[in-house]
Amino acid sequence: LAKTTQPISMDSYEGQEVNITCSHNNIATNDYITWYQQFPSQGPRFIIQGYKTKVTNEVASLFIPADRKSSTLSLPRVSLSDTAVYYCLVGDGIKAAGNKLTFGGGTRVLVKP
């Protein structure tokens, strides 16, 4: 399983863009990159997933360079409610292998007024 490394914490202010970079140097060919958001006392919630280049949805963008050894989650114009822990994970999603995802410590994002 590919290991991920991401910053422990980040502070930001309302209305700013937050970019969290995750390193996954030993990502495998079949691995996808997925980001989750977790609020206190809740289960993690899927944010976005990508394989290469750029993916954008209604809440975030995910930038993946050609070598796929890192990825950057971009949260545009954050609000106080975006204060949470953000996890970067890699995995191939193959059922027979269990599709196990290993969560690291995540990045604690604090959005200040």
Binding site: G43, P44, I94, K95, N99, G105
Partner: protein, 113 residues
């Protein structure tokens, strides 16, 4: 649509007592099922996963066990709880297709006293 139910939401149990946490998934068939534990202020630790009925894989040696008596039911158990079993327990499912993400339940806060 698919839903995942996990109960109870909170539980306080004395040391040495048994434990049974239940998780059920609706709206899908043959999902991969997972049990994670999260200690206070920490990341998620994968405890067990299952790719099918009766198929359980343990990720870490511990005082807990898991069972999958039905396709969409996953149970976490212990015969005798330890203080160190306290934590936030999360059930999750995935379809096991390539690139597939996880959907988490709302979690059970277990306090062993």
């Amino acid at each position: 649509s698919q839903t995942i139910h996990q109960w109870p939401a909170t539980l306080v149990q004395p040391v040495g007592s048994p434990l049974s946490l239940e998780c059920t998934v609706e709206g899908t068939s043959n999902p991969n099922l997972y049990w994670y534990r999260q200690a206070a202020g920490r990341g998620l630790q994968l405890l067990f996963y299952s790719v099918g009925i009766g198929q359980i894989s343990s990720e870490v040696p511990q005082n807990l066990s898991a069972s999958r008596p039905q396709d969409r039911q996953f149970i976490l158990s212990s015969k005798k709880l330890l203080l160190s079993d306290s934590g936030f327990y999360l059930c999750a499912w995935s379809q096991g297709v390539q690139g597939g993400g996880y959907t988490f339940g709302s979690g059970t806060r277990l306090t062993v006293v």
